[in-house]
C-alpha cells in the first residue's frame, strides 16, 4: 500500500515541533521517543505500520485546538486517533505526521433522560456510553463488534454501525451535535441537543469523514429506552441462496426485526470452537432478533418462524433464556476474534442490495477458489452489509498481496451489483485505491471540495479515503 513520502522539511523540524507542543501540553501528553511512538504505528489493520513523528494525548478541547494550531502553522500533517480499532487503516500514521489521540478525553459531560441525550468527550468507548446510562434503563444504539474498545470519536469518523442498525440506524442517525476543532485550531459547535440543522447539515457530512474535516472532541448522542426484552431465534439452512431468500421474505412481511445476522459454514465452525454458542451445523445460519414484552416477542417470532418454515430450514430454535441469548450474541460478536485465533485474515465490509445476496455469495465462492484462499462470511443480512473474512498466512511471501487482490475483486463485485465498497468500516487506506470503481471523477471532486473548505491545506489525515493520485495536487498545496 503506497503512502506519501514524508516531507523532509517536517522531519528536520521535529525538535522544534516537540518543544512547541510542550509549551501547550504537559510533559506526559507528548510522546516523541522513537521507541514509544511505535505503540501508535498501526491500528487494527496491522499489515501496515509506520511510527509517527510524535504523539499527543490532550485532555481538553482547548489543548486540541492549541496543538492543531501549531501543526497548522508548521504544516505538519495530523492523524486523529480514537482507540485505534480501525480495520481500514484510518489511523495509520506517516513518518512526518503527529498522531492526535483522544484517549484521555473520556468524561461524561451531561446526561438528560427527559430529553434522552448524553454529551460525552469523544475518547469515551462506545460500550461505556451505554454503561453510563443502562442502570437507568437507557442505552446508546450503535453497537460495532469492537464496542468494548472503540471510541466515540472513531465511531463518528467512520459512521460506525453494528448488528442492530436495521432498527436503530448507524452513528449518523444517533448523533445530535459535536464540538469540532478545525485544522487551524478554530473550535466550532455544530448541532446540539435539538434535532436537525437550521442551515446546511454539516453534522451529516462530518460524520463519516474519517477524521479529514476536523477533530471531534465532544458529542451529543441520542440515547434510547431499553426494550422490555429481546430474543433471538436461530434458523439454519442447507443453502446460502435459500437463507438469502428467507431474509428478503422476512423483511417484506412487515415485521422488522432489530437484527438479522448471517453466518456461513466456515464461520459457524470457527465460532462454535471458540465461543460454544450452540449454533447448529449447516450451510447458512440466520440469527434473527426481535424486541418487546414476552407477548410481543411471541407474536413477532411466530410470524418469522412461519416464514422461515416455508423455506424448509434444517434448524429452527428460539433462545430459551437470557443466558442462551447472551451466548448466541457473544458468538456472533467474537466472529472476527475467533477467526484471528486460527489465521491471519482481512475483513471486508462491502454492502449490497439484499436481493443480490445469492449472486454475490456465489461470486465470492468462485473467487475464493480462483485465488486459493478461504473466505468466511458473517454479516448483517438485513441491510446487506457483507463481511467476507479472507484467511491468509502473513508469513508466506505473496499471500498478503493475493489476499488484497481477492479482496479488491470481491469489493468490485459488490459495486457491480449496485452496492458499495464499505458499509461501516470506512475507506481508510484499505479501499482508497478502489474509490474510482464506485465514483466518477466529478463525484470525488464534489467530496474533496468539502475538505477544501474545512482544511484548505489538506493536513488532516491527508493520505486517506481518496486515491493518492487524485489528491496529489491538493496535498502539495
Amino acid at each position: 500500500m503506497e503512502m506519501p513520502k514524508p516531507d523532509p522539511f517536517v522531519l528536520d523540524r521535529k525538535a522544534e515541533l516537540v518543544s512547541r507542543l510542550l509549551t501547550v501540553l504537559p510533559e506526559d501528553a507528548v510522546i516523541s521517543d522513537v521507541e514509544e511512538t511505535r505503540a501508535y504505528e498501526c491500528d487494527a489493520l496491522t499489515a501496515y505500520r509506520c511510527p509517527p513523528l510524535a504523539v499527543v494525548l490532550p485532555r481538553s478541547t482547548e489543548e486540541v485546538s492549541k496543538v492543531l494550531a501549531i501543526c497548522h502553522e508548521m504544516r505538519v500533517p495530523v492523524v486523529p486517533r480514537g482507540s485505534g480499532t480501525s480495520l481500514a487503516g484510518g489511523a495509520l500514521p506517516t513518518a512526518d505526521s503527529v498522531i492526535l489521540g483522544v484517549a484521555r478525553l473520556t468524561e461524561v459531560l451531561e446526561t438528560d433522560y427527559a430529553d434522552r441525550i448524553i454529551r460525552v468527550q469523544t475518547g469515551r468507548t462506545n460500550l461505556s456510553v451505554t454503561g453510563a446510562v443502562e442502570a437507568d434503563g437507557f442505552f446508546y444504539a450503535p453497537d460495532p463488534s469492537s464496542q468494548l474498545a472503540c471510541a466515540i470519536a472513531g465511531n463518528i469518523a467512520m459512521n460506525s454501525g453494528g448488528a442492530h442498525c436495521l432498527k436503530y440506524g448507524v452513528t449518523t442517525n444517533n448523533l445530535l451535535g459535536v464540538t469540532l476543532v478545525q485544522m487551524d485550531g478554530t473550535v466550532v459547535e455544530i448541532g446540539g441537543a435539538h434535532m436537525d440543522a437550521g442551515g446546511l447539515d454539516l453534522l451529516g457530512v462530518i460524520c463519516g469523514s474519517e477524521g479529514q474535516l476536523g477533530v471531534v472532541t465532544e458529542a451529543t448522542l441520542r440515547i434510547l429506552p431499553k426494550p422490555e426484552g429481546a430474543r433471538p431465534v436461530l434458523i439454519g439452512f442447507d443453502s446460502l441462496e435459500v437463507a438469502g431468500a428467507c431474509v428478503a421474505d422476512i423483511i417484506k412481511a412487515g415485521v422488522l426485526p432489530v437484527a438479522i445476522e448471517f453466518m456461513d459454514r466456515i464461520i459457524i465452525r470457527i465460532v462454535e470452537d471458540y465461543a460454544k454458542a450452540g449454533y447448529p451445523e449447516c450451510e447458512a445460519l440466520l440469527i434473527v432478533e426481535v424486541e418487546g414484552s414476552e407477548d410481543e416477542i411471541e407474536e413477532q417470532l411466530g410470524l418469522i418462524e412461519e416464514i422461515a418454515r416455508r423455506h424448509e430450514p434444517v434448524a429452527l430454535r428460539r433462545s430459551e433464556s437470557e443466558d442462551e441469548s447472551a451466548k448466541i450474541w457473544l458468538g456472533r460478536k467474537s466472529a472476527f476474534g475467533a477467526t484471528g485465533r486460527i489465521s491471519d485474515y482481512m475483513c471486508l465490509d462491502g454492502t449490497i442490495p439484499v436481493s443480490e445476496l445469492p449472486r454475490v455469495l456465489g461470486g465470492i465462492e468462485r473467487l475464493s477458489k480462483e485465488y486459493g484462499l478461504a473466505v468466511g462470511n458473517v454479516f448483517h443480512a438485513g441491510d446487506g452489509n457483507m463481511h467476507p473474512l479472507i484467511m491468509y498466512d502473513a508469513n508466506t511471501p505473496g499471500q498478503l498481496e493475493t489476499c488484497e487482490k481477492l479482496g479488491a475483486e470481491i469489493l468490485k463485485l459488490c459495486v457491480e451489483v449496485g452496492g458499495c465498497l464499505t458499509g461501516e468500516h470506512g475507506v481508510g487506506i484499505e479501499k482508497r485505491d478502489l474509490m474510482d470503481h464506485q465514483f466518477a471523477p466529478e463525484d470525488m471532486e464534489a467530496q474533496m471540495r468539502v475538505k477544501d473548505v474545512f482544511d484548505p491545506k489538506w493536513l488532516l489525515n491527508p493520505a486517506k479515503v481518496f486515491p493518492l493520485a487524485v489528491t496529489a495536487g491538493r496535498r502539495a498545496g
Binding site: G169, G199, L202, E299, Q438, Q447
Partner: protein, 360 residues
Amino acid sequence: MLRPETEEQLAEMVRGANGPLAVRGGGTRHLPGAGEPLTTSAMTGITLYEPGALTLVARAGTPMVEIETALAAQNQRLPFEPMDHRALLGAEGQPTIGGAVAMNVSGPRRVQAGACRDSLIGVGFVDGTGAIVKNGGRVMKNVTGYDLVKLLAGARGTLGVLTEVSLKVLPAAATQATLVLEGLSVENAVRAMAAGLGSPFEVTGAAHDPAARETRLRIEGLAGSVDYRAGRLAEVLAPFGAARRLDADASEAVWREVRDAGAMAGQGDVWRVHVRASHAPQVVARAQAEAALLDWGGGLVWLRLPEGTDLRARLDGIPGHATRVRGQGPGATPPEAPALAALTDGIRAKFDPRGLFGAA
C-alpha cells in the same frame, strides 16, 4: 420556463445560465428565490423499488402521491411522515419527493424513525458548475467517501438541483392507537411526553395542542402489541391524568392534522422552532404567539405570530433555531454563529460559485 427531461439537459441548462435560477419541484413548499424558473416536472418516475430490500429510488420531480401509492400497494411507507404544506401555505399543485428532500421535511414520526435525511440513502444532483454528481447509493449502510447525501437534504436547493433520490422505506404499521391526555399545562405536557418517549413502549408521535388542551401520544405496530403497549403507556402516563384512547381511524386523522400543522390555520407568520424538548415551555412563554403546537415531544414548536414579529429576538439565548415558514417577517432561515457561517458559506461557494441557486 426551463424544463429539463434528463440530467444531461439540466447540466447543459445550468452551465448556460446567465443569472439566478428559481428551481421548483411542485412549488407547494414556497421556497423563496427569484430568477429564471426551472422545473423538475419532466424528471419523474420511480426508477427502482425493491420491497424486500426496503429501498425506493425515484427521480426528483416524482409526485409524492405516486410514491405513497406505490409503497402502500406493498404495505410499506416513508418512515419520516412528510407533511403536506399546501393547506398551511395556501399552495396548489403536487408536492414532489425532491422538494421534500430539499427541505428535509419530517413529520411527527421523526421523533422515533428519524428525519427525511435519515431515510435518504442516495442522491444525484447537478451542482452550480453544471457537474452531474452522485453520492450514496441504493444500500442503507454506506460509508464510502463523504456523506453528501445529508448535506443535500435540507439544503433548500442551494447546493444543486436534485435529479434522483434513494430512500430507505419501512413496513407500514398494521394498526395504531393514540392516547390523549386533557387539560395539561405546556410544562406538564412536555413532562408527560418525555415520560412516554422515555418508556420502552415505542411512542411514534408525541404532540401537544395548547388550544385544544390535548396531549397526544401514538403507538403503532401489530394489533396485539399496540393493545399491550397502549395499556402499559397509560400506566406510565397515569400521574398526568387518565388517558383517553383513539383507535386507528381517529388516531390517523389526529396525526394528519398534527403533521400538517392544522393548528396554525389563520392569518400571520408561521414559524418552526427546533429546540431541546425541555426548553419548549420557555419558547411558548417567551414567544407570546397567537397559536402554538408542540410536536416531537416539544422538540419542534410551531408558532403563529402577527406579521413581521421578530421571533428570534424573543427567543434569544435559547439554543436551537427558528425558521419562518410563512409570512414576510425577518429572514426565513436562521442566522449562524460566525465559525459555522464561514463553513457553510464556503461550501455554498464551492458548489454554487456563480450564485445561481441563491441563498434561500
